[in-house]
Amino acid sequence: MDSVGSLILYFVVAFAIMVFSVLAVTTRKILRSATFLLFALFATAAVYFMLGYQFLGAVQIAVYAGGIVVLFVFSILLTSQPGDNAKPLASKKRTLGFLGAIAMFVICAWALVDRVAMLVNIPEMEEHTMHKIGEALMGTGHNQYLLPFEAISVLLLACIIGGIVVARKKND
């Protein structure tokens, strides 16, 4: 974990996160924007792998990158013509948004550096096996998550139905 390779990998991943995030919100082609989002999500999945949460990284890739981004792409293809460019933003608005984001970054970064930087020395962590994760997900005891799991599943069901109802063509 603390080899030079890890460090290089880290820099690549961090760089990718930042670059693709910026590109995702600045490009004027909406389909590219979705693509950059996909890359940013992949980079995040890489962070999860680096931190040792292989299952989470897999979910991230499968659900987020695989599912949600595909949804985005579909909707983009449904709602815009190929070659459509977003209209250039009013520079005043862009400047304001940029200043807001910078200000936020500065304040939060200062808070992180000042207050959270003591969290060093990554502790050892035994590997989370699928067995453990499965038990935690399906158990009802302490630190076990059956109830949220069920709630989420109901929510998803509702979303499926709702999505169909909202988006379908009216018969008449």
Partner: protein, 107 residues
């Protein structure tokens, strides 16, 4: 070459913060609804990452942060599905998905 260094949580939190700020910027400035939604996903993803990082650094023996992220991903999926359904519907009505133009239902 013996290269020693300590992993610091800052190293993960700063990219995450940067991602979040990009999301904020996008959310504030974009006009295409899908682009806004993409910005939203960026912010959500940044938050997910924070959960995982803090879980890893503070309580490596437990899975709370991980499960939060897991559920957040599921909810993000649900939310995206609904949002996109609405966007498609709005597009069908007005042939446009610019948020400025979607004020018909306001008054």
């Amino acid at each position: 070459m013996n290269f020693e260094f300590e992993w610091n949580s800052i190293m993960f939190l700063i990219p995450s913060l940067f991602m979040f700020c990009c999301g904020v910027y996008g959310f504030l400035t974009r006009r295409n609804m899908i682009a806004i939604l993409i910005s939203l996903e960026l912010m959500l993803n940044a938050v997910d990452m924070n959960f995982v990082v803090f879980n890893r650094f503070l309580y490596p023996g437990q899975l709370d942060g991980m499960f939060f992220t897991l559920f957040a991903i599921a909810i993000a999926a649900a939310e995206t599905a609904i949002a996109i359904a609405i966007i498609i519907n709005a597009f069908r009505i007005s042939r446009d998905i610019d948020v400025k133009d979607l004020s018909k239902m306001k008054f």
